[in-house]
């Protein structure tokens, strides 16, 4: 089947999608958006969390066919999404066209080969929650990070001043194996504080 939907503000079309194909597979293997991660593929770890019409969902549990004519936001579109939200240009999940998403398929081997650790690049536009994750040391291996960012961003959108219990509740569907969660809590608190400032 053919599925037509919007990903990070850009209209997308996927052909020959079979009935069992998940949104996660379509994003990662067809749209060239590997940011949503494949850690359990049964909705337990939250690594593939994306916004579907504004609602955080595990992309592994959503059939691609369910996304017909709907809006998806992934970690790759988070910075633009947050920017447009701040500008008041959109309601939840209905942001206009984003930019900067390279259409390709996965990460090419040359890109992977040429990857180099480099100092935090201040020229890259990040959403407040993305910057806070870096600053608070909430990123270690980083595999859980994209899902956590999408979930945390949604929390801060509806609750600008969350308590620790609110943060824990909102992120309880996202497993992290490296950090012990303390620095993730720090990051969400930091983003909330900066949002207020």
């Amino acid at each position: 089947m053919r599925v037509t939907f919007t990903v990070n503000g850009r209209p997308q079309e996927a052909d020959d999608v079979w009935e069992g194909e998940s949104l996660l597979y379509v994003l990662r293997e067809r749209m060239g958006l590997p940011g949503s991660k494949n850690a359990c593929e049964q909705g337990e770890c939250g690594s593939c969390t994306v916004r579907l019409d504004g609602v955080p969902v595990c992309a592994c549990l959503v059939a691609a066919g369910q996304c017909q004519d709907r809006e998806i936001v992934t970690v790759e579109g988070l910075a633009d999404y947050a920017k447009e939200r701040t500008a008041g240009a959109c309601g939840a999940g209905t942001c206009g066209p984003g930019a900067g998403i390279s259409a390709g398929i996965g990460t090419g081997i040359d890109e992977a080969r040429q990857w180099q650790a480099r100092p935090t690049d201040e020229s890259v536009d990040l959403s407040p929650i993305q910057q806070a994750f870096i600053d608070a040391g909430a990123v270690q291996c980083g595999f859980c990070t994209p899902g956590l960012l999408v979930a945390a961003d949604e929390l801060l959108e509806r609750n600008a001043d969350p308590t620790d219990a609110d943060i824990r509740e909102a992120l309880s569907g996202n497993l992290c194996r490296c950090t012990g969660y303390e620095k993730i809590l720090d990051a969400v608190r930091l983003a909330a504080a900066r949002q207020e400032a």
Partner: protein, 793 residues
């Protein structure tokens, strides 16, 4: 060249920023938060095939026949391989090559790889694998010590000829290490109070989030390039090349983004399989395990049964200890011999006990293969000896912390292996610190005000209690872990460092084969280069096998050993740069010849802070590029009868205090707080150090109350290979983890640092269980503690 003959003073503002001791941020942070970081499972290649592994449904069986014809006939399938198609070596292993690449005539565990498929779509590969017809004849199982050593027990490796075999008491015992010190028989007469206990540790899984993945690309020279998530590229290379029948020069490995490891990526998973399929098909082949397969695709923490006996005088001095530790290694050796060595040599814990009699061994069995996991043999022992410490303290009527402090080892203490501890061992101080931290408030569910917040109670949002039946307990524990590889292993690392002027700026480049698995090695390498070379801009090259081995990212060793190699190479580069400087500018200022010179803030300065030259001017168009190996001081093997020997290069220590609340009616535990104090020698990056301590603490919490791979004893099959059924702590299960970091330098280590990653995993588990015991009064000799253990149902 203006600065060369007009010296100025360097000021605070012009010193190099981002050196050691600062909480500099991860260089890969931006890529990781934008979703651009290339993890192994994200790799893609034009014309790429997907590999899939067919695994055994039985734990021990003879393979009667394999028919691949139907699978091979499927549209889109490019290759199906069994052990008959292997071009060269048929087995591999970290130390002993006893693990088949593909099962050859017999399977020895549930999930053992039997056949491989390469197809144009992952689903096609899965469906084709299901068409492979394998006929099995089940064999009797070895599942524990009794079935392993019974007369007539099935011998899992009847032809074993490894170097442990001659001194192993039974062919189904991989390795046995006794440690005897002093005279236990004589000391038993002095003991006024004796406590004994039987303990059991379940099988924990590393449960790293990024699944095992890699992409193998066949090369024109008949070799193969592998992009892989691993902990040690060169160990993979050493094992994979013989399987492919290729020289190591034709197998090139590059590290891809690694989503956590914790020991689970020390052994090969899909490395050889992907390369075999790529060479067979002539096409790039990618393999990505799903979570189900991941539970079968890597080794786990050894489950253990431990029996301990301690004797003390009435005034609280420990006089002897006897213990026996039986670890289950599963069917293949993996790192079991080294795990046995650790369990035996660290079995006494961070205490001074003159007379000990220790025996540790690992079994071959048909349970899942076990190997490295954070804590590596020390975790199991720590759970048991810390339970014993509480038991003894109670028997003596002493406070558990004061009893531990009374017996705590310190610098100068003698280990049961005879090794003198020649660096700080602040065991009593760590306990003091963790005890002194402020306690969390009582009945936190009431803290919100009039309405109790059920989220703060055991059971949380399930709303199972409003505080009735909830009791609080506090528990303490401390542990000792070795850092680095032990027992005479040549534990070296290699670093290549280059300095040159790029776009008018001095830039350093660091190239090592260190696997960055999330621990932050790339961050500290840049910090070390800044500190030693006085430059701000440092590039960390991708890790690959074009540079010498860095050893494994495990045993808390990388900052010590590869960090040491980076420091060592930087020092050599600095010397060379200073030589260039002397040749160019030496005649301008006598300090070039007479003073101790440093590189700071992009300049050559004297140790008095006087600026002699800009690095840019010294280097000009030249680059200095040096690759060196670095070793820590050597260790030696333990004597096989007595366990004596200088086996460990460094020890690290952490202490925990756990506060828990238990709903005694439902057996639900909420850990309220898990405070930690740890000595790190020198915190190269304080932010990362605290992150490591909190992460390690949380894995210990998981072992205490929820994490276990459940193996059916009747079939040796894994019952819970998924994140639905194997539970790791969520943010709701994990309490605040306040951390108190102590920095007592180890003079033998670079910058005085001490490996950090593993120690917090040890004491966290027994501290939580001690707190549950304190809350409930139950003995609780097994982890994980489950609700039925608390309710007696």
């Amino acid at each position: 060249m203006g600065t060369a003959n007009t010296p100025t003073k360097i000021t605070q503002g012009t010193r190099t920023k981002g050196g050691i001791g600062e909480s500099t941020l991860r260089p890969d942070g931006t890529l990781k938060v934008t979703g651009e970081f290339a993890y192994a499972s994200d790799l893609w290649h034009e014309d790429m095939l997907w590999g899939f592994t067919l695994r055994s449904p039985h734990a021990h069986a003879r393979i009667v026949s394999v028919d691949i014809s139907e699978a091979l006939a499927q549209a889109g399938v490019h290759a199906v391989m069994t052990h008959e198609d292997l071009p060269a070596a048929k087995t591999y292993g970290l130390e002993i090559q006893d693990q088949p690449v593909l099962a050859d005539g017999v399977v020895r565990f549930h999930g053992e790889p039997v056949a491989l498929v390469a197809a144009d779509h992952p689903e096609t590969a899965r469906r084709a694998a299901a068409k492979i017809k394998v006929v099995y004849e089940q064999l009797p199982l070895v599942v524990d010590e009794e079935t392993a050593t019974a007369p007539g027990a099935p011998i899992l490796h009847p032809d074993r000829d490894d170097h442990h075999a001659p001194h192993s008491p039974h062919p189904n015992i991989v390795h046995r290490q006794p440690v005897v010190h002093g005279d236990v028989a004589a000391a038993q007469a002095l003991a006024e109070v004796v406590v004994t206990g039987d303990y059991e540790v379940g099988m924990q899984d590393q449960a790293f989030l990024g699944p095992e993945s890699g992409l193998a690309v066949p090369a024109e020279d008949g070799g193969v390039d592998l992009y892989i998530s691993t902990q040690w590229l060169h160990a993979d290379l050493r094992q994979v090349a013989p399987v492919l029948g290729l020289p190591e020069s034709k197998v090139r490995m590059t590290l891809s983004g690694v989503g956590g490891a914790f020991g689970g990526r020390e052994d090969l998973s899909m490395q050889a399989h992907a390369c075999l399929l790529a060479l067979r098909t002539g096409k790039p082949v990618k393999i990505v395990y799903n979570r189900f397969e991941s539970f079968f695709g890597h080794v786990h923490r050894h489950p253990a049964k431990l029996r301990y006996e301690h004797g003390a005088t009435r005034d609280g001095k420990l006089v002897y200890m006897k213990c026996r530790i039986v670890l289950d290694g599963g069917p293949y050796a993996s790192s079991s011999p080294a795990v046995v060595g650790n369990a035996a040599s660290l079995a006494v814990g961070p205490y001074e006990i003159e007379n000990v009699d220790i025996e540790a061994l690992a079994l071959y069995s048909n349970n899942p293969p076990c190997g490295a996991m954070r804590g590596f043999g020390a975790v199991q022992a720590c759970f048991a000896y810390e339970a014993q410490m509480d038991k003894m303290a109670a028997a003596l009527g002493m406070h558990p912390v004061e009893f531990r402090q009374l017996n705590a080892m310190s610098q100068g203490s003698v280990m049961p292996t005879g090794q003198i501890v020649d660096s700080p061992a602040p065991v009593a101080e760590l306990l003091r610190r963790v005890r002194a931290m402020p306690m969390p408030p009582e009945q936190q569910w009431l803290a919100a005000g009039e309405t109790a917040d059920v989220r703060a109670l055991p059971g949380g949002l399930s709303n199972t209690t409003h505080g009735e039946g909830v009791v609080r307990g506090v528990g303490y524990a401390v542990g000792i872990k070795n850092v680095g590889f032990s027992e005479g292993f040549d534990d070296y690392s290699t670093a290549r460092v280059r300095i040159e002027v790029i776009a008018g700026e001095p830039v350093a480049t660091v190239h090592t084969a260190m696997a960055e698995v999330g621990q932050g090695g790339v961050t500290v390498h840049a910090q070390i280069a800044r500190t030693e070379l006085g430059v701000t801009q440092v590039t960390i090259n991708p890790a690959d096998t074009r540079v010498g081995s860095a050893g494994s990212t495990s045993a808390s060793r990388q900052t010590y050993v590869t960090g040491g190699a980076v420091k060592h190479s930087c020092e050599a580069v600095r010397e060379k740069v200073l030589e260039l400087g002397r040749a160019k500018f030496g005649s301008y200022h006598p300090a070039w010849a007479t003073a101790e010179l440093l590189l700071e803030g992009g300049k050559v300065v004297t140790d008095g802070g006087e600026v002699l030259a800009d690095l840019v001017d010294v280097l000009g168009g030249e680059a200095v590029d040096i690759e060196l190996e670095w070793r820590h001081r050597p260790t030696e093997p333990f004597d096989l009868r007595t366990g004596q020997g200088f086996g460990h290069v460094q020890y690290s220590f952490a202490a925990h205090r756990a506060v828990v609340e238990v709903d005694t009616e439902l057996g639900l535990v909420k850990v309220i707080e898990l405070a930690c104090a740890q000595d790190v020698g020198k915190a190269l990056n304080p932010l990362s150090v605290v992150g490591q301590i909190q992460g390690g603490t949380t894995q210990g919490l998981g072992l205490a109350v929820m994490e276990e791979i459940i193996v059916d004893p009747a079939t040796a099959k894994v019952r819970n290979p998924s994140f639905t059924d194997y539970l790791i702590p969520t943010i709701l299960d994990t309490p605040p983890i306040p951390v108190d970091v102590l920095e007592l330098a180890d003079d033998h280590a670079p910058y005085g640092l001490r490996g950090v990653g593993e120690a917090p995993t040890l004491s966290s588990t027994p501290a939580v269980v001690a707190a549950i015991r304190a809350a409930t009064g139950l003995a609780l000799g097994r982890v994980p503690v489950r609700p039925e253990h608390l309710t007696g149902t």
